[in-house]
């Protein structure tokens, strides 16, 4: 028995040593990830701390740390995996994600929306998997083609994007569907989609907005309506936007101080440790705190693009670029949401919002970046 346990320990130690012994590790990116997560934990502790209530405030902090540890493990494993290996598995991951999405449409469960797949031990959101699956698939498809892509290739890409988009939108989770689609579009953009096409597609998607409106559920339409006039339904759909803006605005330059936020501490701000945790940060650490976080994010994004442009092959380049730009979309959408510029969509603030699946997916994508970084072109050329 003792032997067995020892052997298991030894196994973990070996993985750890292999993962960290990598001389080509991007320590800057790893440090930024920890920085963002650490900042997030500090805010999470405050967000979980409701004034005047006895509760386990450390509970979510510990849980989230454990998830981060799990994510870190996945990150290190993925980082040790060569990009060629990832590339080879890309179509299979895409196919698996697509299959699970179909399964979720058939047997999924979740409050109000079919998003979750109960695998017995693990409740799991296939759309999360698709966040990686789609860009990997497109990068795999395009890396073998001459770039910029020709019309036929673009058509294939369009189909590959459209399939998961409609399946996820059907759940209904329009926000995630758009995010997944955007990660695919970024691959195509980076592959060199001609500006004429970009212009044409932008124009036609603008023109299609009214059609989209028709297909939206009533609750989704209300979220857009209250964005324009939160007072239309101040205690219902408008509540989140109003309270979030109050939290943000009352923070001022330097914030009210850690644990001193009233909007979150007194429970006026809903979802204050998940999607709206950014408002807690803004309330307690002010404009300075928000800018600090935005700068950390910006450096991560820039670093991601740098890794992409230094990548060894087309697949790695496209995938890394898409991951960096998709990360930006999370930041921008969540930031726009808590400041009342964008409708309320279920997009977490990356590395900061409480929640497991999104964090793990994110860490896996950082793992891909690190792997690509580790296998970058040498400076002296091939």
């Amino acid at each position: 028995m003792k032997d067995d346990a020892y052997r298991r320990l030894e196994f973990i130690e070996r993985i750890w040593r292999r993962a960290t012994a990598n001389p080509r590790m991007d320590w800057l990116l790893l440090a930024l990830i920890h920085l963002a997560f650490g900042f997030g934990l500090v805010v999470l502790y405050s967000a979980a701390n409701l004034h005047g209530l006895d509760q386990q405030v450390l509970d979510p902090v510990i849980k989230q740390s454990l998830r981060f540890a799990l994510g870190l493990l996945i990150l290190l494993v993925v980082a040790r995996t060569p990009p060629q290996f990832l590339r080879a598995w890309s179509p299979w991951l895409y196919a698996l994600s697509l299959g699970l999405l179909l399964a979720v449409t058939a047997f999924g469960e979740g409050k109000g929306a079919h998003r979750w797949l109960d695998l017995g031990i693990l409740r799991f959101q296939p759309s999360e998997l698709m966040k990686l699956g789609l860009p990997m698939m497109l990068a795999w498809y395009l890396h073998a083609r001459s770039l910029p892509p020709n019309f036929k290739d673009l058509c294939v890409c369009a189909v590959l994007i459209a399939l998961p988009f409609f399946l996820i939108a059907e759940q209904p989770d329009l926000g995630t569907a758009l995010l997944v689609a955007v990660s695919g579009v970024f691959v195509v953009y980076l592959a060199g989609l001609s500006w004429r096409w970009i212009l044409a597609l932008s124009a036609s998607s603008l023109a299609l907005l009214p059609v989209l409106w028709q297909f939206m559920h009533e609750y989704q339409r209300n979220r857009v309506r209250v964005l324009i006039d939160p007072q239309a339904d101040p205690l219902g759909t408008g509540w989140n936007i109003i309270q979030s803006k109050i939290a943000v605005g009352s923070g001022g330059w330097f914030g009210k101080g850690w644990l001193k936020g009233t909007q979150s501490g007194l429970d006026f701000l809903p979802e204050h440790h998940t999607d709206f945790i950014g408002a807690v940060l803004a309330e307690e650490f002010g404009f300075v705190g928000i800018c600090a976080l935005l700068i950390i994010y910006l450096v991560i994004i820039a670093r991601g693009l740098k890794i992409a442009s230094d990548a060894r092959d087309s697949y790695s380049r496209l995938l890394a670029g898409s991951i960096a730009m998709t990360f930006f979309v999370y930041v921008a959408v969540n930031g726009g949401m808590i400041s009342g510029m964008l409708p309320v969509v279920g997009v977490p603030l990356p590395m900061v919002s409480y929640g497991g699946t999104a964090l793990v997916t994110l860490m896996a994508s950082f793992g891909i970046l690190l792997s690509i970084h580790a296998h970058r072109k040498s400076r002296k050329g091939r």
């Binding site: 409701l50 004034h51 005047g52 073998a144 083609r145 001459s146 770039l147 910029p148 970024f186 953009y189 980076l190 592959a191 060199g192 309270q243 803006k245 109050i246 939290a247 943000v248 605005g249 009352s250 923070g251 001022g252 330059w253 009233t262 909007q263 007194l266 429970d267 006026f268 803004a282 002010g286 404009f287 928000i290 800018c291 935005l294 994010y297 910006l298 994004i301 820039a302 693009l305 992409a308 442009s309 087309s314 380049r317 496209l318 670029g321 730009m325 930006f328 930041v331 921008a332 930031g335 726009g336 400041s339 009342g340 510029m341």
Partner: protein, 607 residues
């Protein structure tokens, strides 16, 4: 082989251009997000701080303690009694039906109480205590105290109830407070009444609401989104309402009510020198205490349907023909307007006629009173003297003269809710009856009949004016606010131009009691002080200008009202009063003794 055709360098260059453009766009977008935060957090900061504070900071009102009301000797007439109620904080309770059931075995809970509790519970948050039973008895409290540990979330809490210790005796003076209802909401300052449940509804309680109420206090508390109070930020104590000291003498009031026995009527006594109301009686009264927390429908119906009309404030709202009690005022008018001299005499044959008119106006004594001057006319209540005098004055001068004594207008006594009675005039008749004034109507006005009506307080004020040398004082009940004496309104000059005229009338009024022929001579037997008075008897239902005095119908009596006005001691009056006994038939027999009992009592207590 396609791979060989690819230009790897061009692809990398293409990618780098795209990535660079992307990065610039992303920086722009993040700058836009940052700008938005700047706008909210720096530009609009002040506004959002205000909104965050109004989210979390709530003002909780603390109701002020209502001021007490005391009589002139300091006897408490209205106070706040501490009572206890049973209340339940539902959040603390696991099984509410079970708790209520077990409570019900300990303390009697009526279906009404349970229904009210259920109704209130529906509209109240779970962590706010909801009252279940009010006014717990000592035994209830003791019994609950023993088993208190079995009822977490149930508590006995103190609260204030307005209480009127003298009950029915003071109801027509004090009025009462009642629960604030929708009708009050518009009139009340919502801030000042934020913590209050009751407001003055009638009488002094209503009239001096602003003095009695006090100033509301506040605790500023921090609440969370569910409304739970987390801590107190600041506190401003309420300022209790002022204690009102009245001029009313509760002992005198009780004595007056006792004097009435079981007849209905009203009595108002004033200090003629100041206008202070010494007692204000309307019998029967009613107990105001049940009104405080809402009288039951059944009890209210009983009060409303009672033939004695206990809720009716006869002293302020009862209008009665003054009958012969008007004669001193008419007589004084005759002297003061120069229409009569002190030694002017008239012969009473028992019947009076206007020249050229067929109507006959009678004296109450069939055979007449013979030759009488003003003092005898007052002492014996000789109608003929006043028929002629009224006719000589004419209705216009009568109207102006009597108006100076306060007839036809509210006296403005601070109990409030008075009526004016009716002081007729030509214009009034033309307006109200669309008829011209007939001379016969002037004649009967001279003996206080016809259209003329007055309230008991009007009669009392007019009598006090006679007693005070013709100087009318504003009647009032409020004597001091806390210890601060109320400043009296300055008195106007005397109504009469010559005090000798007044003295002559008072001589006549003294003769009513002290002359062997006086209409109330039986009151004068063994009396230790001099009283000036006038009796009156007035028809109840005959309000028409019926010039034919129908003895038969009077004898059949839809019994007449008995009236009596008096002041004493006649030379230096300290008390003046007016009494009316409904259906008492005779002023001297029914109303006189009541007046005397009150005067005796007052003068003995205040020698």
């Amino acid at each position: 082989m396609r791979i060989a055709l690819r230009d790897a360098g061009a692809e990398v260059r293409l990618f780098r251009t795209r990535a660079l453009i992307g990065l610039l766009l992303m920086i722009l977008a993040l700058a836009l997000v940052a700008a938005r935060f700047f706008y909210l957090q720096v530009v609009q900061h002040r506004e959002f701080v205000g909104r965050a504070d109004s989210n979390r900071i709530k003002l909780q009102p603390i109701a002020p303690t209502r001021g007490r009301i005391l009589d002139r000797a300091g006897v408490v007439l209205a106070e706040n009694r501490s009572s206890y109620r049973l209340q339940i904080e539902r959040e603390e309770i696991r099984d509410l039906p079970d708790t209520l059931e077990r409570l019900g075995r300990l303390i009697e809970l009526t279906a009404d109480e349970l229904a009210a509790f259920k109704r209130l519970s529906g509209a109240t948050r779970r962590f706010i205590a909801v009252p279940l039973k009010f006014d717990l008895s000592e035994t209830d409290i003791a019994r609950f105290a023993l088993d208190r540990h079995l009822f977490p979330g149930v508590e006995v809490a103190p609260y204030d109830v307005r209480y009127y210790p003298l009950g029915a005796e003071m109801a027509h003076v004090l009025g009462y407070v009642g629960r604030i209802d929708e009708r009050d909401l518009g009139a009340l300052d919502a801030g000042q009444y934020a913590g209050s449940s009751h407001v003055g509804k009638l009488g002094l309680e209503q009239r001096y609401e602003s003095l009695l109420h006090g100033k509301v206090g506040f605790t500023q508390v921090e609440v969370n989104a569910q409304g739970r109070v987390l801590r107190t930020l600041s506190k401003r104590a309420p300022i209790r309402g002022a204690d009102l000291h009245l001029s009313i003498d509760a002992e005198l009031q009780r004595e007056a009510i006792r004097a009435f026995g079981d007849v209905t009527g009203a009595l108002v006594a004033l200090d003629p020198r100041t206008g202070e109301v010494l007692c204000l009686v309307s019998v029967p009264g009613y107990d105001p205490n049940p009104f405080v927390n809402g009288i039951s429908r059944l009890d209210y119906a009983k009060l409303i349907n009672s033939v004695e009309r206990p809720l009716f404030n006869r002293a302020l709202r009862g209008v009665y023909e003054p009958g012969s009690t008007i004669k001193p005022f008419i007589g004084l008018g005759g002297l003061d307007l120069g229409l009569r001299t002190p030694d002017y005499r008239i012969y009473s044959s028992g019947v009076f006629r206007l020249p050229g008119r067929p109507e006959r106006y009678r004296d109450w004594k069939r055979s007449g009173h013979g030759s009488v001057d003003l003092t005898q006319a007052l002492a014996q209540s000789v109608n003929t003297y006043f028929y002629q005098l009224a006719f000589d004055m004419g209705i216009d001068r009568i109207h102006l003269w009597l108006a100076q004594f306060g007839f036809g207008a509210i006296t403005g006594v601070d109990v409030g809710n008075e009526v004016t009675g009716l002081l007729p005039s030509r214009e009034w008749k033309l307006r109200a009856r669309k008829q011209p004034w007939f001379p016969g109507e002037t004649v009967i006005t001279g003996i206080g009949q016809g259209f003329l009506t007055a309230t008991p307080i009007q009669l009392a004020v007019a009598t006090a004016t006679l007693a005070n040398g013709g100087v009318k004082r504003q009647p009032h009940v409020l004597r001091a606010i806390n210890e601060q004496a109320v400043v009296l309104a300055p008195a106007a000059g005397s109504i009469v131009s010559n005090q000798e005229h007044l003295n002559l009338v008072i001589t006549g009024m003294k003769a009513v009691v002290h002359d062997p022929k006086g209409s109330a001579r039986q009151l004068g037997i063994g009396i230790p002080y001099l009283m000036a008075a006038k009796t009156g008897t007035a028809q109840v239902y005959t309000r028409k200008a019926n010039t034919e005095y129908d003895e038969k119908r009077t004898a059949l009596a839809l019994r007449n009202n008995a009236l009596f006005i008096a002041f004493a001691p006649a030379e230096q009056p300290r008390i003046a009063l007016a009494v009316i006994v409904e259906h008492g038939s005779s002023g001297s027999k029914a109303a006189g003794p009541i007046a005397k009992q009150v005067l005796d009592f007052y003068l003995k207590r205040n020698p």
